[in-house]
């Protein structure tokens, strides 16, 4: 059975994949169409309920909620991609270096990774915001920097397992350099683990960005943001309670989709489970 045949039979992967596809499609749609310009203020139509004209209603400034959710998907994906990209680029490099060199290099990298446990992403973002001011870039950097030790840890752990394999010992006996072994043998064999970790960290990045934007430290106006929409919705919860529900549902479905897809990929890419099928 091919990978895709197995994948289409895996419930978690299918449900997660559909939700993630919906998120990506929504973000792409935002570039070509939105029911109204996102962020366009229309005070006479403020706090309108759901209707044919405004499918999810309008907020306290008359902005169309559906349009803001659609465009907000774009920034959520951007945060996830860039933050995970930072984590993978630097974290995987450090983890591979630690596994290839061992000794004090490995110790240094791992102690550095453990040290960051004292600085969760949100706390780091708060510190950076205190220094550099709030914004999308600051929050992406903070979330991305926090991904580095996570990827370094998992890369090193997985790479150590590959370095102990007999074919790697044979490659070393043939005179191949650690660099060649890392690129030709280690990296391809740990790719599956990294892909799974990337989907999980993507989900965490969306949650972290939403929290920062809720607090006013992330995406700034006029860029729409699901987190900031929640903050604004909370202020209107007596007049229009649904304003605090829609952005939350968008976040939940996006994160749920990524987590389910990650769980599915973990099962599908694990060679031990693949042999049993």
């Amino acid at each position: 059975m091919t990978f895709w045949q197995r994948a289409l039979r895996h419930k978690s992967f299918v449900i997660g994949g559909l939700l993630v596809a919906l998120l990506i499609a929504t973000a792409l749609l935002s570039f070509v169409w939105t029911p109204y310009p996102a962020g366009e203020i229309d005070i006479p139509n403020k706090l309108k309920p759901m209707s044919a004209a405004h499918w999810l209603g309008t907020d306290s400034l008359g902005r169309d909620v559906m349009a803001m959710l659609i465009v907000g998907a774009r920034y959520s994906i951007a945060v996830g991609v860039i933050a995970v990209g930072i984590g993978i680029t630097v974290g995987v490099a450090l983890g591979l270096l630690a596994a290839a060199r061992r000794g004090w290099v490995e110790e240094l990298v791992m102690r550095g990774a453990d040290f960051t446990l004292a600085f969760p992403a949100l706390l780091t973002a708060i510190i950076l915001t205190a220094i550099y001011g709030p914004g999308l870039v600051t929050s992406i950097v903070a979330i991305g920097v926090f991904n580095i030790p996570e990827f370094a840890r998992i890369t090193r752990a997985s790479a150590n397992g590959v370095w102990a394999r007999e074919y790697v010992l044979a490659a070393r006996a043939c005179g191949k350099t650690p660099w060649h072994i890392t690129v030709e043998h280690v990296l391809p064999n740990i790719a599956a683990v990294l892909i799974v970790q990337a989907t999980i960290r993507f989900a965490i990045a969306i949650l972290a960005e939403a929290a920062l934007s809720y607090l006013g430290l992330g995406t700034q106006p006029p860029m729409p943001s699901w987190g900031r929409m929640l903050n604004e919705g909370q202020a209107m919860m007596y007049q229009a309670p649904m304003l605090a529900v829609w952005p939350g549902l968008a976040i939940v479905f996006s994160v749920l989709g990524l987590n389910l897809m990650g769980d599915g990929l973990r099962d599908l890419l694990d060679p031990r489970l693949a042999r049993q099928r």
Binding site: P120, L122, A130, A211, A244, G248
Partner: protein, 327 residues
Amino acid sequence: MHEPGATPDRIISIFLFKRFATFVATLLAASVLIFAALGILPGNAAEVRLGESASPEAVKALSEKLGLDRPPAERYLHWVVGMLHGDLGLSVSYDTPAAELIVERLAVTVPLAVMAMTMTTVLALALGLYAASRHNKLGDVGVMAASQVGIAVPNFWFAILLILLFAVKLQWFSAGGFPGWDDEPWEAFKALILPAVSLAVVQAAILARITRSAVLDVLREDFVRTARAKGLSRDAVLWRHVLRNAMVPVLTVMGLQFANLVTGTIVVENVFALPGLGRLIFQAISNRDVLLVQGIVMLLAATVLVINFVVDVLYAVIDPRLKVHAA
């Protein structure tokens, strides 16, 4: 490699000493990083506080008041020594010692964190045990599906939903605020219930999965089969033997989760307008009170490190396999 003839207790003592040394080194490194990030890199804290349009004389006066005219190494040592004496410097926005402000706010944050962690533990252990005992049946599937959704829910959104239901609709609780422990202790406790629940449910979702996985691993052990063969009921085996052995990995994760709880508290306090550390750090940021931010961040980082150290110590003490392995 251990010395020949080393007793298990001695080996554990060496382990604890090394762990304590690592803890102290990490705490020092954290203090250096926080001081460098907030005390040096962004330029003069007085300039930050007063803004770009401030006169040089005003900046100089505030710099002297805050001790910013001294060399960074001296300021760092002064800060560390001050912390050891409970002095975190002066908050320029409140014109009050930072330590005094922080202690005042801890009266909200600590009870909130304790309540949240207690609820998390009870809920997660109950659900994790239940799911493991109904492995692959409807109960297990239900708990796992619920925990999957729980992990995806932002704690601050869940807090807003709780406010919508219990404060706006049912009016059982207030939508926010904190009356203070002195005047109305019961109302103060009530004011922390919804925030604690919003923190606990999301954390419990993660911990329940870990508990279920740990319990299932232990259920496969030979001693469990022996206990059942001796005639012990399934529940007796679960509570008397399995849970104790499954607690070791669960305890480790609980320690790691504490960092999430700390940051969750920051957000949730802002949702419910609770006058805790989370609100204080935000007020400090918006007031550009860099020294106050420095003190709070150091306290939060130190708390996470202390909790993780305590978990490591408990792990070494309660796991009898560590002593047997050492022997």
